[in-house]
């Protein structure tokens, strides 16, 4: 029908060329030669001046990786990845190592400015509330290709006892903590991409919140892939001791390039008794063009361990980028009465493929988990929710609620829901709800009749669809996520 076709065309017009973060930056780089072997692993470790135990760990991971095979169960398709055709280390060349932001390459600062990421700390005046519309201060760790280039508000955080620094730095400044927790949630041999990451991980953020401390500000890391033919393998480790609290956000972008780029990150979270970790992601890696050329392959392992009683880990993700997303942020609910949450919006347009979801492993008694997944597919994209809720024998009174909603834009895209529920405890209760809907032409017309442009109408309807997830984001980022959705869907949602 005519109306439908027009909607599709409009969507297409909006989608193409819609990526606004696609510029690249000319920075002098220190690069490892292409390819992966033991020597490269040694070189990475050496460049970072790592202690012997860490090199050992990397080499073991590398050996494990060699014996593993790329997983093939996800509903994604791509040409074989040539792991020997990548650079495994790329870092901006430092003259003598910057002591302050003033010594950082101005091109780099300019790039982060362009991305809207404040690397310069705004002076915070004691007792002055941020004005309406102004962001409260957020501590930022900026990771450019493989290396952390700046971390802000370190002093303020240190006063509160919070450690927030590049993991490469934590290896030196807090070796015992890193040694104790690294790989304790995602073991080196957990899966193919985690093993690869463990062998070659470059940098990432380390967060430690000591007993009873509520982190005084949002922490955030911005990842940026810039170099060509480089894999990015960051590693994030967040540990919150008894009664502590942290809210952490990661954002990601990459330049627009014709070739695919590999991103295989690992994130480990540890929450002890009464600790809470809120981990939010706004992922906007370059998704490739309208024909599916280029874009990031995002193969990420994220897992949180609720080790202590009444601990809580909450994952919130808004995923609009990447050519392929393979990602299942999970919670291991070990402590009694611990809580796991997963709130997700995954948008796919053009030829993007997303296979994403979560795993909730209930081990402790009265553990509770909530899963709210909103998949939006447009263009010729494919969007799969894959979830596992496993209730172990001793998890008396465990509860899970799962809601999976799919929104289709146009009729050339796909949405799939693959929920597994395994319960080994008869007192456990699980609930699952799923819906699939379309943006109806009459909804668009209704909005336009009231004066909204087609694009604003799509944005409004999509944001309405995602409301339950967006409200979980820290407030100052929810607004950005809404804009991001509107932008990526403007093009993709007609």
């Amino acid at each position: 029908m005519a109306a439908v076709t027009e909607t599709l065309d409009t969507v297409a017009a909006v989608t193409e060329g819609g990526y606004k973060w696609g510029f690249s930056t000319d920075i002098e780089m220190d690069m490892a030669p292409k390819g992966l072997n033991e020597d490269i692993v040694r070189l990475i470790s050496e460049r970072k001046g790592e202690p012997a135990w860490l090199l050992e760990w990397r080499l073991k991971s590398y050996a494990a990786w060699l014996k593993m095979e790329e997983p093939s169960w996800a509903k994604v398709q791509h040409a074989p990845i040539d792991y020997q055709d990548l650079h495994y280390y790329a870092a901006p060349k430092k003259k003598a190592g910057p002591k302050s932001l003033d010594e950082v390459d101005p091109a780099l600062l300019a790039m982060y400015e362009k991305l809207g990421i404040p690397l310069r700390e705004r002076a915070i005046l004691a007792g002055v509330e941020p004005e309406e519309g102004e962001r409260p201060p957020v501590a930022v760790d900026a990771v450019f290709d493989s290396v952390s280039v700046a971390t802000t508000f370190k002093d303020t955080l240190a006063k509160a006892g919070v450690i927030f620094c590049p993991i490469s730095e934590a290896v030196h400044s807090h070796p015992d903590l890193v040694k104790q927790y690294l790989g304790s949630v995602v073991p080196a041999g957990d899966n193919y991409f985690a093993a690869l990451n463990s062998a070659v991980f470059s940098d990432g953020s380390f967060v430690f919140i000591p007993k009873g401390v509520r982190c005084p500000m949002e922490l955030s890391t911005y990842f940026r892939i810039n170099a060509r033919n480089t894999g990015q393998f960051e590693r994030t480790l967040i540990v919150v001791e008894d009664g502590g609290y942290v809210s952490y956000l990661e954002g990601c972008t990459a330049p627009q390039r014709d070739e695919n780029q590999l991103h295989a990150a690992v994130v480990e979270l540890v929450a002890m008794t009464d600790a809470t970790i809120k981990y939010s992601t706004v992922q906007n890696w370059y998704p490739g063009d309208a024909d599916g050329k280029g874009g990031i392959y995002n193969f990420v392992t994220k897992r949180g361990a609720c080790r202590g009683a009444r601990s809580k880990i909450s994952w919130t993700q808004v995923e609009t980028g990447s050519a392929i997303t393979w990602k299942y942020p999970s919670c291991i609910l070990q402590g009694d009465d611990s809580v796991g949450e997963f709130y997700s919006v995954a948008v796919t347009t053009n030829r993007q493929q997303a296979d994403t979801g979560t795993k909730m492993i209930h081990i402790g008694k009265n553990t509770r988990s909530t899963i709210v997944s909103k998949g939006i597919s447009a263009g010729r994209s494919d969007n799969t929710y894959r979830g596992l809720v496993r209730i172990m024998k001793n998890a008396d009174g465990a509860r899970n609620f799962t809601q999976c909603d799919s929104l289709l834009i146009g009729d050339q895209c796909g949405a799939h829901t693959v929920p597994y529920i395994e319960s080994r405890n008869p007192t456990a209760k699980t609930e699952h709800e799923a819906t699939t809907s379309k943006i109806a032409d009459d909804q668009l017309f209704y909005c336009r009749q009231r004066g909204l442009s087609q694009e604003d109408a799509v944005g409004l309807i999509v944001n309405g669809f995602c409301k339950d997830v967006l409200k979980e984001l820290p407030m100052e980022f929810a607004v950005e996520a809404q804009k991001l959705l509107a932008v990526s869907l403007e093009g993709s949602v007609g």
């Binding site: 005519a2 109306a3 017309f445 209704y446 009749q449 442009s453 409004l460 944001n463 669809f465």
Partner: protein
């Protein structure tokens, strides 16, 4: 002034409007009555620019501007409002957010200053009070879980807030209890002014007791077959359409 001349339009290969001639001078309220399936809603959709209708002849202008050339949102910003016969649900979209976004989009298009959240809420709450509607109307999601009557009231609230120059009400009185009927009438009457006009589509003379029209038109088989003063509505109420249709044939 709304001026429709020889308007022909249809859907796929089916012609529904077969040459409509209708003039609504600025400041007047006209009623359109007519049997089911005669093309009343089609006319309202064609005037407001819904996709899927093909205009095969004639013209429609509003204050001299060619309506049929404009995108729906441009017509809205020009002052055209349609109260839908079947209002649409927007899950997760709050009424207040929806209306403020819409109002500001219109104001932007007209080069007027936008309203901030505080200004908007103040104005919207005043309209709600004036129309004796429930306070939670603004908090609820657009039409989601609304009863049939509540949806119609919400259309009237939207009209009151957007303050159009030309309102088309498509059976906004259908399914309403007598109190709600008065609310709808109040909504229209409050806007009545020398610069406002309205096209009120209805099946019931009753509504026209509250909104007294300047003219009444009978639409049948895709044409206006008779026009008259308010007394025409009474005649239709008493005798039905059959006599008028037969007379016109």
């Amino acid at each position: 002034m709304l001026e429709i001349k020889g308007l022909r339009a249809g859907i796929e290969d089916k012609e529904i409007l077969k040459g409509i001639d209708l003039v609504v001078p600025t400041g007047e309220v006209h009623a359109i009555m007519g049997p089911n399936g005669s093309g009343k809603s089609t006319l309202s959709y064609v005037l407001s620019g819904r996709d899927g209708y093909e205009v095969t002849g004639g013209s429609a202008t509003f204050d001299g501007a060619d309506l049929l050339e404009m995108e729906p949102e441009v017509r809205a910003a020009a002052g055209l409002f349609l109260a839908f016969q079947y209002p649409v649900e927007l899950p997760g979209v709050g009424n207040a957010n929806f209306l403020r976004t819409a109002l500001n989009a219109q104001r932007r298009a007209r080069g007027e200053a936008e309203l901030d959240a505080v200004q908007f809420l103040k104005m919207a709450r005043a309209e709600i009070k004036r129309l004796s509607m429930a306070d939670d109307m603004l908090k609820r999601n657009v039409n989601v879980g609304f009863s049939g009557g509540e949806k119609k009231r919400n259309e009237v609230l939207q009209m009151a807030i957007l303050r159009p120059k030309l309102a088309i009400l498509d059976e906004t009185d259908s399914g309403l209890d007598i109190d709600a009927l008065k609310i709808v009438a109040d909504g229209v009457n409050a806007l009545r002014s020398p610069t406002f006009s309205a096209l009120v589509i209805t099946h019931y003379q009753r509504l026209l007791d509250y909104i007294v029209p300047d003219r009444v038109h009978v639409l049948a088989g895709g044409r206006i077959i008779r026009s008259g003063g308010p007394e025409l509505a009474h005649e239709l109420e008493a005798n039905g359409y059959a006599a008028v249709v037969a007379e016109a044939a």
